[in-house]
């Protein structure tokens, strides 16, 4: 039953597995990437019984349980809240847990790991570099007056409403995967990537935060490398307007700081921070 497409064959064969509860009787073809950096790699074909409302992650679990128990898939909540099960389904970076099989076009569904990250095995990639980027970002820093204020802070809802969008990020890293600066040009060392510009925006716009991260995102973060193609925004499962609401305003603030001639003179003679 299992056949293998190029480039390298992978040997196995699914035995007849039981149909799950509520199966419709139809089956769906999946071409799932298998392999590690050191072993043969290629897509392997699987037939999975269709169940109403099935998502791609359900199909991967079916394969694990009944066909190849060593199929590597990362997942946690299965409810689009944790951002663990990112992969490229039919070439599009998505969360497998909310990608409905009945909404895919006819024909085999390909499931491959995120391309912008080093492969570990099958659908699992090494995303640890993202966590290292986060360590470089200045954490939330209240002013001294706020930090020493013994009373609970008063913060007005309108002052934080725009922040909620950025704080929705579930760190699925699909935006990092699709960003051409990382995906095509491999500039991981020079570019933080969309996720972390969202992170910075969520800190910088916090009314009680007093740190200034503009030099950091410009110099270390490589903000200028982003040429606002908005690919990140398109794939965000939380519908965060990454480019419009996080990156572009940040670029403007960085530009104001560095290229505004009045501010430049002011910095020289004033020595102030912001």
């Amino acid at each position: 039953m299992a056949t293998v497409s190029e480039p390298a064959p992978i040997v196995t064969g699914p035995e007849q597995a039981p149909a799950p509860e509520h199966a419709t009787g139809e089956s769906v073809d999946f071409h799932v990437f298998r392999g590690t950096p050191d072993t043969p790699q290629g897509d392997k074909e699987y037939k999975v019984p269709m169940v109403p409302g099935m998502v791609v992650l359900d199909a991967m679990h079916y394969i694990q349980k009944h066909v190849d128990t060593d199929l590597a898939v990362r997942w946690n909540c299965k409810a689009a809240k944790c951002g663990s099960c990112s992969a490229e389904v039919n070439g599009r970076p998505v969360l497998m847990c909310k990608t409905r099989v009945d909404e895919m076009p006819d024909g085999p569904i390909t499931v491959r790991p995120m391309k912008a990250f080093p492969l570990v095995k099958d659908l699992v990639v090494d995303v640890s570099g993202n966590f290292k980027v986060n360590e470089k970002i200045t954490p939330f820093t209240p002013s001294e007056a706020d930090a020493s204020d013994p009373q609970p802070w008063r913060i007005k809802e309108p002052d934080i409403e725009r922040l909620y969008e950025f704080r929705k990020c579930i760190e699925c890293f699909l935006c990092q995967d699709v960003c051409h600066v990382l995906r095509t040009h491999d500039l991981q060392e020079r570019f933080y990537g969309p996720r972390f510009f969202v992170r910075v925006a969520g800190l910088e716009m916090h009314p009680k935060d007093a740190a200034d991260r503009r030099d950091l995102v410009r110099e270390d973060g490589g903000l200028g490398l982003c040429n606002i193609t908005k690919c990140c925004t398109e794939v965000c499962p939380e519908h965060i307007h990454i480019t419009d609401n996080a990156i572009i305003p940040m670029k403007e603030r960085v530009v104001d700081r560095h290229w505004d001639p009045i501010a430049w003179v002011g910095r020289i003679f004033g020595g102030g921070k912001k």
């Binding site: 694990q64 060593d70 299965k78 995303v127 640890s128 934080i160 579930i170 800190l203 916090h206």
Partner: protein, 577 residues
């Protein structure tokens, strides 16, 4: 001789990187200790992110009459008075500081019109008490703690490591060992003290809101190392999980839907909670609402797919999208249901485990020297039933206390403990066994063992229990404990979920046995324990907690311990409110 392994040394090892683990790590580090945090998943993916409703704290921002004493009384009543009252007192008192601390760390909350932290109504809380940010409070909490922890000097996080055994040096713990998921290499963490913050266990049930991680590793490891497990019969069914489509079965529908005014109906359009609890209605405690839905379905008044209807449409589309954005998205994406236009279909789902490692209230110390436990893996705070909003407080309050106490222990201990090669080698052999094909026999599939356990626990140790059903579950567990010895897997050690499941199965069987044995002993209905053969509460049983422990002969035993009587100064809070 033992296979070569990676060794990490530290003062305090924290097992788990949810809210409890991260708060413990920060506390231990601030106390001057080197800290290693180990998580089975990536950082920030722990179950804490699933907490949607909020964190209960008696700030009194919305209802001025609220305060820690009312919170104390509500929690004791919700837990049916068998909680460890000292833990409840500490929690109700300190959670207020922990909420404000979270804000100082950069965490955001919805605000009142005058700029204070907003609080919402929730099941069985007398006043509006849950501090929240929309319906993603847990995400905000973990992100804030995560950021704090990685920017705290001396804290090192190891992602995607699985620990399988606590190591001991005499009576005291000396660390833990396991493997790195990415390549299967064995690892050993040598530590002067260990904080177990490994979360709960729901994966042994079929309808569950738990991720793959909820296999009870931490509690099972602690049990094997000599710790006691308390109140294990109490497993919380959250009243509202998704029921359709099949793949979404069990996924949580936050209580905030009811907190924001959502109503429950049966297939006849009757708002049945008016009958089961006319006073608190939909916002009755979780055990009551879950049983009510179960009874309606049993009586033939279930929804199309065998649940109840949860309706929030009357709050209007704008309000729903603002206050319940992730619920709107979840039903839209997974079930093609627009909750602003149609009711949701819901059914009880395994959500939380009240029981856990027995700890001392002040320090979170277990009965094993050097081992501490906090958060869902510890027992005592919630008694027979947890109130919504009390888990996020739990993890911060007791995570901090466990971290501080572990740091004290580590500093007093001074020198690093010694490791015993024989102990490490024996565990390596156990871990590597599923790859052994020398006997030639085709082994058991670990996933199918798991499935058989889920069927047994769901059917016979689930929401409604009898002596007969529990005995049946126990026999099923014992049969699976024999079968699990023969699990075999294909592939290598590199990121091999089949191999990982082999060990998960063993942990889940241990924990399941503990649940079932405790449930058999408690011959009454109380909180989440609903015995069809003992429908009422028994005052005698209300004076004891059941504890499972490993006997000298290696078998699991149950004993009862007395519930500490409530001091007069605290019992007056129950009378007052």
């Amino acid at each position: 001789m033992a296979e070569s392994f990676i060794t990490h040394d530290c003062d305090v090892l924290v097992v788990g990187a949810g809210g409890a683990g991260l708060r413990a790590a920060v506390a231990a580090s601030e106390a001057g200790c080197s800290v290693q945090v180990v998580t089975k998943s990536l950082l920030g993916k722990a179950h804490t992110v699933m907490a949607e409703g909020g964190i209960a704290a008696g700030l009194g921002n919305v209802d001025e009459k609220d305060g820690w004493t009312v919170h104390f009384a509500d929690t004791m009543r919700g837990g049916q008075m068998i909680n460890n009252w000292r833990m409840v007192e500490i929690d109700a008192h300190e959670v207020i500081d922990r909420v404000y601390e979270l804000e100082r760390w950069g965490g955001l909350f919805d605000r009142t019109p005058d700029g204070r932290i907003m609080q919402r109504a929730f099941g069985a809380h007398t006043y509006r008490r849950l501090c929240h940010v929309g319906d993603r409070t847990g995400l905000e909490l973990i992100r804030t703690c995560q950021d704090r922890a990685v920017h705290t000097p001396g804290v090192e996080v190891h992602m995607e490591y699985t620990l399988t055994k606590l190591l001991k040096d005499g009576d005291r713990v000396s660390g833990a060992m396991g493997y790195r998921r990415s390549d299967g290499r064995f690892v050993v963490f040598r530590a002067k003290a260990v904080v177990m913050a490994s979360g709960g266990w729901g994966r042994m049930y079929k309808t569950t809101s738990n991720s793959w991680e909820g296999t009870g590793d931490g509690a099972a490891m602690a049990y094997e190392a000599g710790a006691e497990l308390l109140d294990m019969e109490f497993v919380q069914f959250h009243p509202t999980g998704m029921i359709w489509p099949p793949g979404a079965r069990g996924i949580l529908v936050t209580e905030a839907v009811r907190g924001e005014g959502g109503l429950l109906f049966n297939s006849e359009g009757t708002r049945f909670m008016l009958e089961y609890d006319p006073k608190k209605k939909e916002l009755s405690s979780r055990d009551v609402v879950a049983r009510s839905i179960f009874k309606e379905v049993q009586a033939g008044r279930g929804s199309v797919h065998g649940g109840a209807y949860l309706d929030i449409r009357h709050r209007g589309a704008d309000y729903i999208k603002k206050k319940l954005p992730s619920m709107f998205e979840q039903f839209h994406a997974l079930a093609s249901v627009d909750i602003t236009k149609e009711p949701m279909e819901v059914y009880p789902t395994i959500h939380y485990t009240m029981g856990g490692i027995r700890v001392e209230a002040e320090t979170a110390a277990t009965t094993v020297p050097g081992l501490y436990a906090a958060g869902e893996c510890a027992g005592g705070l919630h008694g027979a039933n947890r109130l919504g909003g009390n888990s996020l407080g739990d993890i911060l309050v007791f995570g901090r206390r466990a971290g501080e106490a572990a740091a004290d222990f580590a500093k007093a201990r001074g020198i690093a403990p010694s490791l015993r090669d024989a102990e490490i080698e024996a565990e390596q052999l156990v871990l590597a066994k599923p790859f052994d094909s020398t006997d030639g026999a085709k082994g058991e599939n670990p996933y199918l063992i798991h499935e058989a356990l889920q069927d047994a626990m769901q059917d016979d140790a689930g929401i409604a229990r009898t002596e007969e059903s529990l005995t049946r579950a126990l026999h099923a567990i014992q049969a699976l404990q024999k079968r699990v010895k023969n699990v075999r897997v294909a592939g290598g050690r590199t990121y091999n979920p089949g191999w990982h499941t082999c060990r998960d199965d063993v942990f889940m069987l241990t924990i399941s046995e503990s649940i079932v044995r405790s449930a058999i002993e408690r011959k009454e209905s109380r909180g989440s324990q609903w015995r069809l053969d003992y429908l009422d509460k028994d005052p005698e049983q209300g004076r004891v907690n059941y504890v499972t422990y490993k006997a000298d002969d290696g078998s699991m035993k149950v004993k009862s311990i007395p519930v500490e009587p409530l001091p007069v100064e605290l019992s007056k809070f129950l009378e007052d409110s």
